[in-house]
Amino acid sequence: MGKVSKPKLKSKIDFIIRVAGEGGEGVMSCGELFAKAVARTSYHVFTFITYPTEMKGGYAMTQIRIKDITIYSMGSFVDCLVAFNQEAYDKSSPYLKEGGILIYDPEFTVIDDSKNFINYPIPFSKISVDTIGRPLGKNVVVLGILSHLYGLEHPGLEKLINDRYGSKGEKVVAGNIKALKAGASAAKEMGVTTVMDLSKSEAAAEDYMFISGNQAVALGAIAAGCRFSAGYPLTPSTSIFETLSKYLPLVGGKTIQMEDEIAAISAIIGASFGGEKVITPTSGPGLQLMAEQMSLASMLELPIVIVDVQRGGPSTGLPTKTEQGDMKFAVYGSAGESPRIILAPTGVEDTFYQTIRAFNLAEKYQMPVILLTDQSIGYRKATVKMPNFAKIFMVDKYDRKTKVKIPNAEHIDLVQRQIPTEEELLDYKRYKDTKTGISPVARPGTPEGQYLATGLEHDEYGKTNQEPDNHLKMSKKRFRKLDEVSKAFEKNPIETYGDPNVRIGIMGWGSTEGAIREARYLAELEGVKIRHIHPHTISPLPERQISKFLHRLKHLIIVEENLTGQFAHFIKAKFGVKPIEVHKCEGMPFTADEIYNAIMKVARIADEDNITSS
C-alpha cells in the first residue's frame, strides 16, 4: 500500500501518544526510538518535543502522532499518555482523551481516579532497578511497554537500541535490551491489552526518510550543493550545524565552528566571495548579532543562506520553546536599506525543499536569504518523501533566463551563480546596472575578473562613489532584484486552498500551516467552509496572489505565534485590510483545536452579519 501523500480528510488510523517526564529522564530517547520504529512501517509519524532549558529537572515531553496518511500537526488530544512523574501527570493528563490509556509509575505519581481513563500503574523505575541495577533504564522499560501496547516487533527495536547505544559499549546495549524485554513482559503480566498490531503493517516504501526539521535543513543544503557552513551552537538550531558537520565532509564540503555568530556569518561571506554556496544556522539571539554582516552581504551582493530556528523571546527568553517572534527582525533587521529574501517553511518536508529554494534564490539574486523555521519544526520529526536524484538539474552559469521552479521530490533545479562572459571580462563591471539588477560575478582566480567588493557605496565597477546620483542609481539597482524576485514569486504554484466563493479566509505563515489545515478539516466537518492562504515567501510577498485571495473575503483571520501580530502588521501595511488576529504567545505551537475554535467563532459572527444585513 505505501504512504499516500495527497491530503485526505478521513483516515482509518490516527492516534497520538505522549511520553512525559522530567528533562534528562530519557523521555526524548524513549519517544524517539518508538517513533523511529513506527516510521519503518507504512504509517506516517510526526513527533513534537518540548523540554526545559535547564540541564536537569523540569517538564519534558515527546508527542508522537501516527496516521495512515500525511500528518500536518501534532494533534490536540492524546490517546495514550505515559507519565514518568507527578508533574508530568499533572501537566499532561488534561490532554488525555476520555477513555484514553494512562501508563504511570505509581512510585512517583498519584493520579485522580475519578477520571475516565484506562489506568495502568507500572513501576518502571523499580523494573529498571530490578533488571539492570539502576533506575536510568526506565525509559527503555517504557519503550518495552509501548511495544507491547502497539505490537511493535522486538528485533527492529533492538537494532535501533544498538544504533543508539552502540558507541557506549556492549554492556550498555545488552542492559537496554534486557530493560526493553522486562518492560514488555511487565505489561503483558499486568494485563495491558495490545490496542493495535503495528507489526502487521507493511514495511515503508523505500523512498521515505524520517527526519527532523533541523535535519531537513542540513540535508536540503547538501542537496542544494552547499559546501561550506560556519556556525556557532545555539538552541534550538544547533543540530543543523551538527548534522552538517557530520555529513558535509562526506561530499567534500567543510564546516567550521567559529568563535561567535558574527564570525560565523563573516566566514560564510568570505566563502561566498570565494564562489561557494554557504549557510549558517542560528536562532534569534544569534541572528541579531548577524545584522551588520547581513547588511554587508546585501551591499556586496553576495549569496548567503541563513536559517533562523525561532525560539521564545525576547533576549534569551525561552530557548527550548517555539515562537514566531523573529519575522519583523528578519524582514527589517538591518540599518539602511538592504534587500533580502525571507522564506518560511511550513513543516519538515517543506523545510527540505525550501532550503534548496533558499540556495537557488540566494545564488540567482545575489543577496541574503533567511529561512525562518522555528523550534516546533526544527525538533519535530516526520516522514519525508525521498527526492528523485535522477531529477536534479543544474542551471548553467551563463544562463540569465531560466525560470527556476520551486523544487519538489520530482524535480529539483539547482541554480549556479551567474558568471561574466569573456566579452564582459574585457571591461568587467561587477555591479553592472542591468535590467534585472543582477550582475554576473567573477569567481576569484578568473583572470581579468578582479574586482573590489566594498560595503561603501560604489559604482558599477565596485569603486567607491558617494555622489548623490550614484547612490540613488545603485540603491535602485539593488532593489530592482527584489522586484524581480517578487515577479518570479507571482508565478509560483498558488498557495491558496478552498472555494473562491467562500467569504471567510484564514492566513498564516510558517509552522502553523498544519494546525490550520487540520482546523479547516474540522470546521468543514461542521459545515463551515473557509479559504486558506499560507505564503512561503514572507518577503517579498506574492502580492497579486494575496490580493486576489483577499478580494472577495468578508472576514480574514490571521494566525500567528507571537504577542504583537507581526505578520498581521505586515499584511495590513501592504493590503490595507482589517483582519481578526489570533495570537498565541506561550512557547507552544497552536493545536488544530485552538484554531478551529477561532474559526467557529468567526463563522458565528459571519452568520450574525448575514442575519443582520439580510
Binding site: 566566514a267 561566498s272 566571495f273
Partner: protein, 282 residues
C-alpha cells in the same frame, strides 16, 4: 599577456588611487606589499585582499586583486571562510590597530587556533585615524585624544605578547619606513604555512601619537643571535621597557587548517553521494 606584464610592473589598482594624507605611513606599506607580490610572482587573479575599516582598511581598494572591504573588525573571520574554501588563493588580511585589536580583537586567537594559512597585516598608528583622532588600544596611558580629553586611562596593549600567547606560528614586527625589512618579512610571512602575523608601525601624520621621529628613537632590531624558535625569549623582547624590537619574534612549523581539514576528509572517506547520505535517514 596583459596579466603577466602587469604583474611585472605593479599590482596596484589602475583606477583607484590612495586617499591617505600626504606622508601617511600606509604609503610605504602599500609599496612594500606591491613589491612582495612582484617578487613572489603571484598572478593578480589569485590574490585576495580582505581588509577592515579605517585608513588602513583601504588597502583592499588599491590592488588589482580580488578584494573585499567589509565591516569594522571582521576581516579575519571573513578571510578564514574564504581561505577554508579556496586554499588555492593567496589571502592577505589587512587592518588597523583599532580594527584588529579593539573591535576585532576577539577573532585573532581563534584564527590562530585554526592556524588558517593566511597573512594578517596590522598597521599600528596608535590612534583611530579614519574617525579623526580617538584613542586606540595602543594609545599610551595618559595621552590626550578626542575621546580622552583628560588623558587615556587604559594601559596600551602589548600586541606581540598577545600574539605569542595565542600560539601564532609566525610573528614579526617592523615599521613602515623600513622597506627592506617589510619586504623580507612580508615575503617570509606570506610563504609561511599557517597563520602569519605582520605587525607594522605605520605613523599617522594627522593625529600623530607616535611620530616618525619618536618611533625612530625607540625602534631596535632584534639581536643578531636572537633565536626565534624560543618563545620565552620572544616574550622577553616583547616586554622590553627600553626598546620596541623589530624583526621576526617567533616562527614555528605546525599543521595548518587546510591540512587538518584534509585529514577530516580523508578520514570520512569522501566517496558518499548525496543520495547515500539521505538513505541513512530512512
Amino acid at each position: 599577456m596583459k596579466t603577466i606584464s602587469q604583474a611585472v610592473n605593479t599590482y596596484k589598482s589602475k583606477s583607484i588611487k590612495p586617499v591617505w594624507c600626504p606622508g601617511c605611513g600606509d604609503f610605504g606599506v602599500l609599496a612594500a606589499l606591491d613589491k612582495t607580490f612582484k617578487a613572489l610572482e603571484f598572478k593578480p587573479e589569485e590574490i585576495a585582499i580582505i581588509s577592515g575599516i579605517g585608513c588602513s582598511g583601504r588597502f583592499s581598494h588599491y590592488f588589482n586583486s580580488y578584494s573585499l572591504h567589509g565591516t569594522h573588525g571582521r576581516a579575519l573571520p571573513t578571510a578564514t571562510g574564504l581561505k577554508a574554501v579556496r586554499p588555492d588563493l593567496h589571502v592577505i588580511t589587512i587592518g588597523g590597530d583599532g580594527d584588529g585589536l579593539s573591535i576585532g580583537g576577539g577573532h585573532i586567537a581563534h584564527a590562530a587556533r585554526k592556524n588558517v594559512n593566511l597573512t594578517y597585516i596590522i598597521l599600528d598608528n596608535n590612534v583611530y585615524g579614519m574617525t579623526k583622532g580617538q584613542s586606540s588600544p595602543t594609545t599610551p596611558l595618559e595621552y590626550n585624544t578626542n575621546t580622552a580629553p583628560y588623558g587615556v586611562y587604559e594601559e596600551a596593549l602589548n600586541p606581540i605578547a598577545m600574539f605569542l600567547s595565542y600560539n601564532i606560528g609566525y610573528i614579526a614586527r617592523t615599521t613602515s619606513t623600513d622597506m627592506k625589512s617589510m619586504h623580507s618579512i612580508l615575503t617570509e610571512a606570506i610563504q609561511h604555512k599557517g597563520f602569519s602575523l605582520v605587525y607594522i608601525m605605520s605613523p599617522c601624520v594627522t593625529y600623530s601619537v607616535l611620530p616618525y621621529s619618536k618611533l625612530k628613537d625607540i625602534v631596535k632590531p632584534l639581536p643578531e643571535n636572537y633565536d626565534n624558535s624560543d618563545k620565552m625569549s620572544a616574550f622577553k623582547y616583547a616586554y622590553s621597557d627600553e626598546h620596541m624590537y623589530t624583526g621576526v619574534f617567533y616562527k614555528e612549523d605546525k599543521s595548518c587548517l587546510e591540512e587538518r581539514l584534509q585529514t577530516v576528509f580523508d578520514l570520512a572517506a569522501t566517496s558518499k553521494t548525496t543520495s547515500e547520505i539521505m538513505t541513512e535517514f530512512k
